[in-house]
Amino acid sequence: MWLYYFNNLVASFPFFLKGVWTTVIVSLLSLVGGTILGFCIGIGRNSRIRVLRYSLAIYVDFMRGTPFLVQIFIVFFIFPEWGIQLEAFQAAVFSLTLYAGAYISEIVAGGISTISPGQTEAAMSGGLNWFQRLWFVIMPQALRPILPPLVGQYVLLIKDSSVISVIGLTDVTRVGWLTVQRIPEGLMVFGLVGILYFSICYPLIRLSNWFEKRLTIEKWTV
């Protein structure tokens, strides 16, 4: 019986690969969107305009304080009530982008705050405008502390993308859920799902660790 199910599972492997494709596409799109959004918010959180700072803080707080499941329900069920019709795919990418953006903004804001204000002042007296200061002075330095946790955040994003299966998108988790209705061997089916996620996430975890080793500056001792 076990072997029969195993053969069945092997036969439906292409279905799993389709699920991997969905997971990868959704993650990739929201990863790019989330990074752009996160950098914008992270820069905005260090701004001198108080209203901007506070409203961004409230946004980030809401995204970090509520489960992603609730957020995706809000996007998927409530937005249509406000007249914004989103398909499952769009809702998934949209909510993942908003979610990732909030977390990435914390990383970016933290990275920027490690740069001493003297750098900004020096750049100011050098006559650089706001954008030049950010692009040529702050960011090149801030990228060092930002990069390792950023890659770590990508891993979290890929794992959290499994939640999009609840709104009917056939990602790897959803494929596993559908398959287990036919092949009642949960350990085998979700073992395979786990292996597929592992093969996506583990290299990224290693990359993050490698970045951390390469990019961490030894603290100056007095």
């Binding site: 304080g65 509520t66 609730v70 299966s165 009642p184 949960g186 350990l187 975890i205």
Partner: protein, 222 residues
């Protein structure tokens, strides 16, 4: 948007939400204690000189950390019955949550232990303390203070992750919101109320965490 918000129905459903809040708190509390226990075991394994323990703990931690909680939840939910193990939804959920958080806590604890200078352990050895005495009198008192904030951070993640238990029909906070959505077609009221309660828990934990961080600064040992 707010003028269409139906507060009467929210008040009508408030007992459900409070029950959900209680269930979420309860589930998180039990899972937290198990996770801490599992985390301590896995951390001890990871730091052990015994190769088998070291490798087993390493595989456990990496496997959990590179697969999504939802896949793990389904793995146990659909998988355990085929092993002849019949657990209730609550038990399955708590099992998955504890194992998941346990792996992350193991890494946090390991970072805490490794932040202690090895000379301290050697000094303990030469004073004739055995393994548990060294743990009890030298390592833990120093490691615990610094690990509390990241452990609380992981607890916030745990509380939010417990929302996924609603997908295996455990009644908790998110389920209460879903109930309101399916019975009254009021997703906005339901999910925003759910979000509000999560935010409440998030802020309590966050306040406690920053209070502890402030307290740490004044500790001479740090």
């Amino acid at each position: 948007m707010l003028e269409t918000f139906n507060f009467r129905v929210i008040i009508e459903y408030l007992p459900q939400f409070l029950l959900g809040l209680l269930a979420t708190t309860w589930i998180s509390l039990i899972s937290f204690m198990w996770a801490l226990f599992i985390g301590a075991l896995a951390c001890m394994g990871r730091l052990s000189h015994l190769r088998i323990l070291n490798v087993t703990a390493g595989i456990f931690i990496e496997a959990i950390r590179s697969t999504p909680l939802l896949a793990q939840l389904y793995f146990f939910y659909f998988g355990l019955p085929s092993l002849g193990l019949r657990l209730s939804e609550y038990q399955t959920g708590i099992l998955a949550l504890s194992l998941n958080s346990g792996a992350y806590m193991a890494e946090i604890l390991r970072a805490g232990v490794q932040s202690i200078d090895y000379g301290q352990i050697e000094a303990g050895m030469t004073s004739g303390l055995d393994y548990f005495q060294r743990l009890r009198y030298i390592i833990l008192p120093q490691a615990i203070g610094a690990t509390i904030p990241p452990l609380l951070g992981q607890t916030i993640v745990l509380v939010k992750d417990s929302a996924l238990l609603s997908l295996i029909s455990v009644f908790e906070l998110t389920r209460a919101g879903q109930l309101m959505n399916s019975e009254r077609f009021m997703p906005a009221e339901g999910f925003f109320t759910t979000a509000l309660f999560y935010l409440l828990m998030y802020h309590i934990l966050k306040t406690f965490s920053s209070w502890w961080r402030k307290k740490l600064i004044f500790r001479p040992a740090m």
